[in-house]
Amino acid sequence: MIRIAAVGDVHLGEDARGRLRPALEHLGDHADVLLLAGDLTRHGALDEAQVVADEFADLPVPVIAVLGNHDYHSDKQVEITDLLMERGIRVLEGTSVTLRIGECSLGIAGAKGFGGGFAGKSGSVFGEPEMKAFVQHTVEISDRLRAALAELDTDIKIALTHYSPVADTLRGEPPEIFPFLGCYQLAEAIDATNVDLAIHGHAHFGTEQGVTAGGVRVRNVAQPVIGSAFAVYCVEGGQ
């Protein structure tokens, strides 16, 4: 059994420095790995990312992250990624990481994801170039996530995104904005690749639990949703 700690949408900045650190001190007692589901900063500024790096560096377990839309806001996503990587925080974007935890191998593939909407209420690559570009971004990111997941050959497989693969975990958000909160293409990638658990953030007013059409459990770990420094999920390997 592997214990997965996860949190998203911590939205840190200088004024929130150290806020999570007390709870993280005992992380090793709770979990084998920590996943960060994006929106680590408020506005994607480098000084905010520095706070994120300080908050999550040098923990007793590996820390794996994806960025969120807020982390892109200042066009510094590459610099933020480098800064976090330098401090030992693995940032995934259409990529994966494999960890060995005891007898078990754990694979995590991650991508920011994007909006686009869900079954019957989604955008498509049609019409104006702006609309095509929007949905093309959705499709490309989902394809990259699918390829990264397909590559993994591990006992347990986790998909980590910022945007949601399902509408279930958006309950509580206004339905009008669902197309900006996630897309069905992410779930298709997850359902095609034998994933054990899908973790996402972004929907601050959503709910924690959902499931894909293919029966993969989905958890929204946006910090306001889980109401703690992180959530912990225990996953049995080798189903």
């Binding site: 214990r3 005992h26 709770h30 910090q223 703690s228 420094a229 959530a231 225990c234 049995e236």
Partner: protein
């Protein structure tokens, strides 16, 4: 944010008490004659008290 007559109600979540207070300040600045209800919550950053076993 919801406006009802003289009342402004704001809700949502922020990471710190200071960010919550700043929102009240800004609202008082831009709408000095309105009654402000700040229902914004500071997100809990404590250790979790439970874990979920997925089978």
């Amino acid at each position: 944010m919801t406006v009802r007559g003289e009342h402004i109600v704001v809700s949502g979540d922020v990471a710190t008490e200071q960010r919550r207070a700043e929102i009240s300040e800004v609202l008082r600045d831009v709408a000095p004659d309105m009654v402000i209800h700040n229902d914004i919550r500071v997100v809990c950053a404590d250790e979790p008290t439970r874990r979920e076993e997925l089978r």
